[in-house]
Subunit: 137 residues, 2 copies
């Protein structure tokens, strides 16, 4: 398979400075922070407004990309699982998917709540709206 | 920001051959297909079993990465929106996030239902389980 080259669209600014402060599952986080979007992508922000929920994709730059199995949630008494059967940050392509709430937008900065990412995390994409997959299956 | 290099973990095999066959929103798809995982990532599949819902991330290799605004759902009478305020496939880093149901697993192949991706789409990641974000906000 051909390699894919990604340019981050921006960076996440967060009060979380290291992994010991980060929640194990995104649903546990209520942190406020900022998405600072690169100038060349500013046009693509049109329509992002306060009150919206957005999906953000970001690159877990501290993850171990060589890890193939983990103890779920770091629990050593739990059986090892393949990383694809978990939500571990450690995986070959550590792309996180999370939902955050937009508090406000100022120029190229989106202020959000519900963030779990560490400060300095590369932001890869923003998509609108929560997905409702409940009626798909 | 530093560029990020991604090696796909596999490829999606699907009966959908071109974009005219692909649903506009993932929730509309009920297509069956296969996730064919690269041999070096096979260990990471441990624990993926029939009946599970998995989140898949894939690269929309036919997307226009230069497009910054779109008419939502291709409706030309709708106002232009920035791609980050939509779920358009066209965006700087066209990474799709979808949920599929595992029908069976055979060696390095995961048979799934609820697929929306075109045949030959590079697969970037698999994560376990639907996310429940309903109580986060």
């Amino acid at each position: 398979m051909e390699k894919i080259l990604i340019n981050p669209i921006g960076v996440i600014r967060s009060p979380l400075r290291d992994r010991s402060q980060a929640p194990k599952q995104g649903r546990e986080g209520q942190v406020e922070g900022r998405l600072v979007i690169g100038e060349k992508y500013r046009e693509a922000m049109l329509g992002i407004n306060a009150g919206m929920s957005i999906t953000i994709l970001y690159w877990l730059h501290l993850a171990d990309r060589t890890r193939m199995k983990v103890h779920p949630r770091g629990n050593l008494s739990a059986a090892l699982k393949g990383v694809f059967a978990t939500r571990s940050p450690h995986r070959p392509n550590p792309i996180a998917v999370d939902e955050v709430k937009v508090m406000s937008v100022d120029g190229n900065t989106i202020y959000v709540r519900g963030l779990d990412a560490l400060d300095g995390t590369p932001l890869l994409d923003i998509k609108c709206c929560l997905r409702d997959v409940s009626f798909k299956f």
